[in-house]
C-alpha cells in the first residue's frame, strides 16, 4: 500500500517536472491569450490539464484494484498541482526573470487563477484542480473501453476544433461559423455541440462499426465489402481532387507542404524503413533537386533557361547521380557511422551553397530567385491552389514507386539486408548494388520534392536546407512507423500538417519533435501505423497483456542496422 502510494507520488513528481518544463519554456504563458472555449478556457490551461490527465490516466492503468486506482490518480494529480503551487511561490518570492524569462508575474497569475499568492484559494487552486482532474482521469481509465475512447476522442476533437477556429472561419460560410465560434475560439454552446456530436459519432462507429467494414479487432486483416470499398475510395478521391476548391489559399499551402514532405518521406522510407540505413543527410538530395531546378531555369544565373518541365528530369537525374556518388563511399560503413557521415554530407552541401566560392553559380546566402513556374497549355501555375495538383500527382507517383518496390524482388532484398546483412549476402544478394539502389532511388524522390519546392516557392535559399529538414523527415517516418507507407501519410499529417495549422506552436515545434522521437522510441518503436508484420513481431511476446500501455522492445525484431 505504501509502496503503491509512493509510486503514485513518483508519477506525480514526473508530471510535476513535465509541468515545470512546460511553464518555464513558455508553453503556458505564450498561449495564455489564446481562448479555446468562451472567454475563460485558455489554451495554456488545456496544456497543463492534459499533463495531469495523462499522468493520472497512466497511474490508474498501472494499478489493478479499481478503488485504489482512482485514489492513486488523485494523489498523482495533487502532486502535480503542488509542484505548480511551489513554482508559483518560487517565481513570486524570488526574481527568476533574469535567468528564466518565462518565470514571470503573468505565470503566477495563470497558475493561481489570477488571484496571486497572497490568496490561500489561489495557492490551493492548482492542488485542488490537480486532484479533481486526477480523479477524472482515474475514472476514465476504469471506464469500459468504448466509453473511454468516446470521451477521449470527443475531448481531443473539441480542443482541436477550438484551436483551428481561424481555419474553419476561412472555409465555412460566416453564418455557420458564428453559430459555434466566437471571434477567438469556440462558443461554450458550440463546444458542447462539438463534444456531443464527435462523441456520439465515435460511440456509434465503435459500437456498430463503419458500414462495410467488419469490426474485427485484428486490424491487419480488415476486410471491406466491395461496394462500400468503392464508396470510400470515391469519397477519398473526391476529397483530394476538390481540396483546393474549398481549402482556399491557406489550406492549399499547408497541403502542398505536407505533400512535399510525403514525397521526401517516401524516399527516405526506402532508405531507412526498407533498407535499414539511417541517412541523416537526406536534405542534401532535396537541396540538389531544388538547386538544379533553380540553376537550370532561373534567368538570374542565366546559363540555362529551361522550362520547369524540361528541368524536372534533370533535377531527378542529378539527385540520382549524387545519390550514387555520396552512396558509394558511405555504404560500407557500419550503421551509426553512416548516419554521421551522411549528416556531414548534408552540411557540406549547405555550406557550399552558402559560400562566396560558389556564389556565381548558386547565389550564396541570397539564393536564387525567379525560378521558373510550371506551365501547362500556356497557363502558368504560380499559385498554391493549382500547384496542389502537381504535388498531388507527385505524391501519387512516389507512392506508386514505393508501394511497387516494397514487395518486388529488390524490396525483399532490402529487407533481407536490413534484417541481417551477412545472411542476405550469403543468399546471393549483391550488398553494395542493393544498398546503392535504395540510396539512389530515395535520392530521386528527394530531388523531385526539391524541384517541386523550388517551383512552388519560386526561389531557393540555403536556409531552406538546414539539417532540421532531415530531422523533420526522419520524425515523420518514425512517428508513422518505419517501413510503413500509410504511416508516412499519418506522420506527415501529424508532424507537418498540425504545426502548419497551429502556428502558435511553431516556436515549440522542434522541442515537441525531439520529445516525440524519444518517447516513440522508448514506448512505441513500431510507430503509429506500423506495418502489420512488424507489429506482430514486436508484440509476439506479450500474448495476454492488452492492458499494458508500454511495449517491450526486443533486440531482434525492430529494424536494425547491423554491425
Amino acid at each position: 500500500m505504501t509502496s503503491g502510494l509512493r509510486s503514485a507520488f513518483n508519477f506525480g513528481l514526473l508530471g510535476g517536472v513535465v509541468a515545470w518544463h512546460a511553464c518555464l519554456v513558455g508553453m503556458v504563458e505564450s498561449f495564455s491569450e489564446r481562448r479555446l472555449i468562451g472567454e475563460t478556457v485558455e489554451l495554456s490551461y488545456v496544456w497543463l490539464v492534459g499533463i495531469v490527465l495523462l499522468i493520472g490516466y497512466l497511474k490508474a492503468r498501472n494499478v489493478q484494484a479499481p478503488g485504489i486506482a482512482v485514489f492513486h490518480s488523485i494523489v498523482s494529480g495533487a502532486t502535480i498541482g503542488a509542484a505548480l503551487t511551489l513554482l508559483a511561490l518560487l517565481t513570486s518570492v524570488f526574481n527568476l526573470r533574469d535567468i528564466f524569462p518565462f518565470a514571470s508575474p503573468r505565470l503566477v497569475e495563470l497558475l493561481t487563477l489570477e488571484r496571486g499568492i497572497a490568496d490561500a484559494l489561489g495557492l490551493l487552486f492548482p492542488i485542488l484542480g490537480g486532484a479533481v482532474l486526477g480523479a477524472a482521469a482515474g475514472g476514465l481509465a476504469l471506464a469500459p473501453p468504448i466509453w473511454r475512447r468516446t470521451i477521449t476522442v470527443a475531448l481531443l476533437v473539441t480542443v482541436l476544433i477550438g484551436l483551428l477556429r481561424d481555419i474553419f472561419a476561412a472555409i465555412v460560410p460566416r453564418d455557420v461559423v458564428s453559430l459555434i465560434f466566437t471571434s477567438r475560439g469556440l462558443l461554450p454552446m458550440g463546444a458542447l455541440v462539438v463534444f456531443v456530436v464527435s462523441g456520439a459519432l465515435t460511440w456509434l462507429i465503435g459500437t456498430f462499426g463503419l458500414p462495410g467494414i467488419s469490426t474485427d479487432a485484428s486490424s491487419a486483416s480488415r476486410s471491406v465489402a466491395t461496394p462500400w470499398k468503392y464508396a470510400y475510395l470515391g469519397f477519398g478521391v473526391l476529397f483530394l481532387l476538390t481540396f483546393p476548391l474549398w481549402g482556399k489559399l491557406f489550406l492549399s499551402n499547408v497541403a502542398n507542404f505536407i505533400g512535399l514532405y510525403i514525397i521526401m518521406a517516401l524516399g527516405l522510407s526506402l532508405v531507412i524503413g526498407f533498407a535499414g540505413m539511417l541517412d541523416l543527410g537526406f536534405v542534401a538530395f532535396f537541396a540538389i533537386g531544388a538547386y538544379t531546378m533553380a540553376i537550370l531555369t532561373s534567368p538570374k544565373i542565366g546559363t540555362f533557361t529551361l522550362t520547369f518541365w524540361q528541368a524536372l528530369p534533370f533535377s531527378m537525374l542529378f539527385a540520382f547521380l549524387s545519390g550514387v556518388v555520396l552512396g558509394l563511399p558511405v555504404l560500407r560503413m557500419r550503421g551509426d557511422y553512416l548516419a554521421i557521415a551522411t549528416l556531414g554530407f548534408g552540411e557540406i552541401i549547405r555550406i557550399l551553397a552558402l559560400s562566396n566560392f560558389l556564389k556565381p553559380y548558386m547565389g550564396g546566402a541570397q539564393g536564387i530567385t525567379s525560378v521558373a513556374r510550371p506551365e501547362i497549355a500556356g497557363f502558368v501555375i504560380s499559385k498554391p491552389e493549382p500547384f496542389y495538383y502537381i504535388v498531388l500527382i507527385g505524391c501519387v507517383v512516389a507512392w506508386f514507386v514505393a508501394a511497387r518496390l516494397k514487395h518486388s524482388r529488390l524490396g525483399r532484398a532490402w529487407m533481407a539486408i536490413r534484417e541481417d546483412e551477412d545472411v542476405a549476402q550469403a543468399m546471393g544478394i549483391n550488398r553494395v548494388e542493393t544498398k546503392l539502389l535504395a540510396f539512389a532511388i530515395g535520392a530521386i524522390l528527394g530531388g523531385m520534392s526539391g524541384a517541386f519546392f523550388a517551383g512552388l516557392v519560386g526561389s531557393v535559399v540555403p536556409k531552406s536546407f538546414e539539417l532540421l529538414v532531415s530531422i523533420n523527415v526522419l520524425a515523420v517516418i518514425i512517428v508513422g512507423g518505419m517501413g510503413s507507407l500509410p504511416g508516412v501519410l499519418v506522420g506527415a499529417l501529424v508532424l507537418v500538417g498540425l504545426p502548419e495549422l497551429l502556428r502558435e506552436f511553431a516556436e515549440y515545434r522542434m522541442l515537441v519533435y525531439g520529445a516525440v522521437l524519444v518517447v516513440m522510441m522508448l514506448f512505441r518503436p513500431e510507430g503509429l501505423w506500423p506495418e502489420a508484420v512488424r507489429k506482430r513481431e514486436l508484440h509476439k511476446d506479450e500474448t495476454s497483456a492488452p492492458q499494458r500501455v508500454t511495449t517491450s522492445v526486443t533486440a531482434s525484431t525492430t529494424p536494425s542496422v547491423k554491425d
Binding site: 518565462f102 550503421g335 566560392f357 539539417l467 516556436e507 515549440y508 525531439g514
Partner: protein, 348 residues
C-alpha cells in the same frame, strides 16, 4: 581483368580515385599558397596556436563521445547539448560575478566557480539523459538508440532556448586575460592549460581509481565485468558523469575564446568532437585527445593553406567543410582511426 587474376571492386576503385583527387588538390593548394607567400611566419603561428586551443576544446568534448561509445556502443548524439547546457548556464554566474566586480578583483576564484557550475550542470544533464533516455534502450537495436539520442539532442536544444531565450549571450571579458605573452594571446594559453590539466586528471582517474578500473572493465566486456562484481549501472552513470564534467569545462573554455553562447552552440562543436573521437580511434581516450588537436589545427590552418591556394575566395567560410570532409574521409579510409580503436569486439 578477371583473366589476369585481379579482382578489383569497382566501387572501391571509385572511392580511392576520389580520395587521391582530394589529396592532389590539397597538395596543389598547399604548394601554391606557400609560393605566393601571402602569410608571414607569425600568421602561421597564430593559426596553429588558435588551432591548438580550439582543438583542445574539441578533445575535451570528444572524451565524452569516446567513453560512452566504449561503454555502450552508442553515439551520444546529444553530447553537444551537454556541452552547451553547461556553458549557457555558466553565463549567468559569470554575468552576476562581473556585475558585482568579483571577476576583476578575484578572477581565478570566479573562473573556478563558473567552471564548477558549468561542469555541475553538464553532468546533471548527462546523467538525466542516461537515466531517462538511454537506460531502457541498452539492449535495443542501435538505430533505435541513435534516433533517441537525436531526439534528445533537439529536445535539449529547444528546452534551453525556451528556458533562457534564443538570443546570443555575451560572456563578460576578464581584464587579466586580455593581451598576450610572448606574442601568444593569454586566452589561448589559459584554454590550453585548462584542457591539458583536465586530460591529465582524467587519465589519472581512469588509470588509478577503482571507478576508473570499473569503466575500463565495462568497456572491455559488460557481462564479464558484471560477473566480477562491477555495478554496471553505476559504472555507466559514472562514465556519463565524467563525460559531462569534461564537456562542462570545455563549455567555459569555449566561452573564454569565443565570448558568446547560445542554444545552438553545441551542435557543430559536437559533430566536430565526434570527428575528433573517430579520428583518434573511437573508444580510445588518448586518441580522442590527439584527434581533437589534429582536427583543431587542420581546421584553423586548412582554409588558408589548402583552399586559398586553389583560388577560392573567402575560404574561411569553408572551414566546416574541411572538418566534415575529414570526418567522411576518415570514416571511409580508416574507420578505426589513427591510434586504433580500443573496443572489445570489432564492430566493422
Amino acid at each position: 581483368m578477371r583473366r589476369l587474376g585481379l579482382r578489383i571492386d569497382f566501387s572501391q576503385l571509385i572511392v580511392w580515385i576520389i580520395g587521391l583527387l582530394l589529396l592532389a588538390l590539397v597538395v596543389i593548394g598547399t604548394i601554391s599558397t606557400l609560393q605566393t607567400g601571402k602569410y608571414s611566419a607569425q600568421q602561421w603561428r597564430d593559426f596553429v596556436v588558435f588551432g591548438i586551443a580550439q582543438g583542445s576544446i574539441y578533445a575535451l568534448i570528444a572524451l565524452g563521445y569516446t567513453m560512452v561509445y566504449g561503454v555502450l556502443g552508442l553515439i551520444n548524439f546529444a553530447h553537444g547539448e551537454v556541452f552547451m547546457s553547461g556553458a549557457f548556464t555558466g553565463f549567468f554566474l559569470a554575468n552576476a560575478l562581473a556585475e558585482n566586480g568579483m571577476i576583476d578583483s578575484n578572477p581565478i576564484l570566479s573562473l573556478i566557480a563558473v567552471i564548477l557550475l558549468s561542469a555541475a550542470v553538464s553532468t546533471g544533464v548527462a546523467l538525466a539523459l542516461e537515466r531517462i533516455a538511454y537506460r531502457r534502450l541498452r539492449r535495443a537495436p542501435r538505430l533505435v538508440a541513435l534516433i533517441t539520442a537525436i531526439g534528445a539532442s533537439f529536445f535539449l536544444q529547444y528546452t534551453f532556448r525556451g528556458l533562457y531565450g534564443s538570443g546570443v549571450k555575451v560572456y563578460p571579458t576578464v581584464e587579466i586575460l586580455q593581451g598576450s605573452v610572448f606574442g601568444i594571446q593569454k586566452t589561448m594559453i589559459v584554454v590550453f592549460i585548462g584542457a591539458i590539466s583536465m586530460l591529465i586528471l582524467l587519465y589519472l582517474f581512469i588509470q588509478n581509481t577503482k571507478m576508473g578500473k570499473a569503466i575500463r572493465a565495462v568497456s572491455e566486456d559488460v557481462e564479464t565485468a558484471a560477473l566480477m562484481g562491477v555495478d554496471v549501472n553505476r559504472t555507466i552513470s559514472a562514465t556519463f558523469a565524467v563525460g559531462g564534467v569534461m564537456a562542462g569545462v570545455a563549455g567555459v573554455l569555449y566561452a573564454i575564446i569565443f565570448k558568446q553562447v547560445n542554444f545552438f552552440m553545441g551542435f557543430i562543436p559536437g559533430i566536430k568532437a565526434f570527428t575528433a573521437a573517430v579520428l583518434g580511434g573511437i573508444g580510445n581516450i588518448p586518441g580522442a585527445a590527439m584527434g581533437g588537436l589534429v582536427l583543431g589545427i587542420f581546421e584553423s590552418v586548412g582554409p588558408s593553406l589548402f583552399l586559398e591556394g586553389l583560388g577560392i575566395p573567402a575560404a574561411y567560410q569553408l572551414k566546416d567543410v574541411i572538418a566534415f570532409l575529414m570526418l567522411v574521409l576518415i570514416l571511409i579510409f580508416r574507420p578505426t582511426g589513427i591510434l586504433g580503436e580500443r573496443l572489445a569486439t570489432k564492430r566493422v
